[in-house]
């Protein structure tokens, strides 16, 4: 068994790409659930919004609107198209999505939002998969070819290895950008949660009627939180698509949302740094288990009959589900939190 490789995987899980993607998505979910009490089970849809916002603008639309013989001969440069794509992916799509999810449900009981967010996430995924709009969305194969502008900015040698040999050049660039974005996002989160705005969110989480009686427009605040949290999720999803150089519908199945949830609850919902702690630990555990099992199967420590290669991939989902259920039942305040402050168990 190659313990070194396993340790490396664990370390990479702790700080690597998945930590970045899911940390960002969990920062968003923390705003939704941790601070406002919104049961968003469609964070994967916000992630998809970020990925597809960029991909559709750069891959689908750019060649069409820049076509010398087409209807629009705009000739916008590749760099600008990327910027427009980022704008759509990070701002426009998440806002539209949040309105779609929020308008029917934010006036209703919390579990309606849970149902609708899951439903909307499925609607979007199935729609993206549909061959009917293949030219626009790439159907089940997804869209690619939108990440070049990003990697062109990388100062690192694409072939070289960086950071204790963990990442190759492009990956390292992505992870570095990711860390920066994470840091800024966490800072923004910290700032607004300590402001009167954050105070209103917490009040809504505790008791919406009390907040309304004191003159706070709960509906509007919940919508703002849904949008802002969705934007963080979209950034995470966009970086994920850039990391894969691919925006594909099946990368945004509902289970992705649940990974974000586990990360958040693990870290302790309602704390600013929880998403980062949770995402790091979650992916260290998941990837570590994964690497360990693969090594064990490869070295016949575990027999093939007991566990095949494809089944190893499923273990992580089982583990995630089990973690989610156990945490919610026994440590709703997260692994480090104390119950006084904020727990899943509040309502």
């Amino acid at each position: 068994m190659d313990w070194g490789a396993i340790l490396e995987t664990i370390f990479r899980g702790l700080i690597g790409e998945q930590f970045v993607y899911f940390g960002l998505a969990a920062i968003g979910l923390n705003l939704h659930f941790g601070f406002t009490g919104l049961l968003n089970f469609g964070q994967a849809a916000f992630m998809a919004a970020g990925a597809y916002g960029l991909a559709i603008i750069v891959t689908t639309l750019a060649p069409r609107i820049n076509d010398d013989e087409g209807m629009f001969q705009l000739n916008i440069g590749e760099g600008w198209m990327f910027v427009i794509g980022v704008f759509f992916g990070v701002i426009v799509f998440p806002i539209v999505l949040a309105l779609l999810m929020g308008i029917p449900t934010l006036r209703l009981r919390a579990d309606y939002l849970a149902i609708v967010t899951i439903a909307v996430a499925e609607i979007i995924r199935i729609t993206m998969r549909s061959p009917r709009w293949d030219w626009f969305t790439g159907a089940s194969d997804g869209l690619s070819g939108f990440s070049r502008t990003f990697y062109d900015l990388s100062p690192f040698d694409p072939g070289g290895r960086y950071f204790f040999n963990l990442f190759i050049g492009n990956q390292f660039f992505l992870v570095l950008v990711g860390w920066a974005v994470l840091a800024v996002s966490a800072l923004i989160c910290w700032l607004i949660i300590r402001s009167p705005w954050g105070r209103v969110l917490k009040a809504i989480r505790e008791d919406e009627d009390a907040a309304r009686a004191l003159g706070k427009n709960a509906y509007s605040y919940k919508m703002q939180a849904l949008i802002l949290g969705g934007i963080f999720g979209a950034i995470g999803g966009m970086l994920r698509a850039i990391g894969f150089s691919l925006a594909q519908p099946d990368n945004f199945i509902t289970d992705v949302t649940f990974f974000v949830w586990v990360a958040l609850i693990l870290g302790g919902a309602g704390k600013v740094l929880a998403p980062l702690v949770g995402a790091g630990i979650l992916y260290a555990v998941l990837n570590g288990t994964d690497a360990f099992l693969r090594e064990a199967v490869a070295n016949d420590v575990i027999s093939d009959e007991l566990l095949s290669g494809t089944q190893v991939g499923q273990v992580r989902f089982m583990l995630m589900g089990l973690l989610l259920a156990l945490l919610a039942a026994f440590r709703p305040q997260g692994i480090f939190g104390n119950k006084e402050e904020m727990a899943l168990d509040d309502r």
Binding site: L39, F41, L100, I103, P104, T105, R107, L108, A110, D111, Y112, A114, I115, V116, I118, A119, V120, E122, I123, I126, T127, R129, S130, P131, R132, D209, T254, D255, F258, W261, V262, I265, Q311, Q314, V315, F317, M318, M320, G321, L322, L323, L324, A325, L326, L327, A328, A329, P332, L344, D345, D346, R347
Partner: protein, 445 residues
Amino acid sequence: MWLVLLIGVLASVLGLGASSPVAAQDDGDDGDDTAEAAESIGGQLRTRTAEGEDVFAEGVTMIVFDADGNEVGSAVSDAEGRWRVALPGPGVYDVQLDVATLPEEVPLRDEGRDRLEGIDVRAGAAQNTLFPLGEAIESSDNTIRFLQLTVDGIKLGLIIAMCSIGLSLIYGTTGLTNFAHGEMVTFGAITAFIVHVVYPGRIFGIPGTNSLVFAALVTIVLAGALGWALNEFVWKRLRNRGASLIAALVVSIGMAIFIRYIYLFQFEGRARFYRDYQIQEQWDLGIIRLAPKDLFIIAFSTTVLIGVGLALQKTRAGKAMRAVADNRDLAESSGIDVESVIKWVWIAGSALAATGGVLFGLTENINWEMGFRLLLLMFAGVTLGGLGTAYGALFGSLIVGIFIQLIAYPSWFPSDMKNVGALGMLVIILLVRPQGLLGRKERIG
């Protein structure tokens, strides 16, 4: 309206009964093949164009495996799509269709249904198999198509209803939005598959124990027991610890994922089918065409649902369930043993969901995530009808089922988007009538 239709259908079945046996789908297959070997598996690969012309799939490789997965033999279909493989003896066999050899103009109707498993060949039998090919034939007559879709929708709606009654009653009595309810549906389908296909054969030599009906009965009992156990060992304890509804909801999601991936782990990603009733020619009932099993599903689930409705209306237990779902505190103070009611809601709800799972597996296929797919439709149905009410769940589910089928009525509507239509409807309902069609507005404060 559909009841009238159903009666009409039943009547025509009785009328046609003698002349259309539950067909081995293959015609023109009389004897000369079977003379070569005592037992064989074969069939005819064909489909029909919209104009009614027969199209045969020639040159398709069919491979037969025995129960241990060893190849027994293979055959290539002839110009009329016929193929036959001689068998070493009676037993249980699998047939694999080599998709790569299929002509392009006749694809498999259900992608992934390229393998039939657990085909029981009795001594001396020339067993026939059916691989549905090509697009399902769609009638050019719009009225007939409309009727056909409506009947399909009723079937789907009845199945959703059966599954979602438990979901709604559990919500009504305990406040839990149980995201793991879909997994109970899958449990039903898979358990029945295991009893029926994986370990077939007569149990204790009792005739009939290798039938799907027997498997379904076993499944229902097991599901009821599982429902009881889940309530007793998970949900009751969480309630007693005073866990919040949100925490419970998240627990149910975690459990759902855990169980679902255990299914995948054990059952693999492929779609499977029951051995019984999978090869049935559709009966032409004059106006619409139905496989006998579909008719059975409609009749059976209607009976069950009417039974459930009567039980809720007339029996003491049923009244207690409705009372607790309506107002738990009031029910408790008027002497109803709420915990006992909740226990029975779990048992009955789980058994119904599992039954729905068997039926759903029978109409479509059995796979590890069928329950999750159905769960969203159940939510749509239950929300439409009014969360927490038994009749609402029934009514809403029927509408969702019919809606899903009928939304594909305009031919431009992409059939892979049918569920999107239903989920979109869910969002719109919440916008205009959040309490559901049968629900009441809640009072604040």
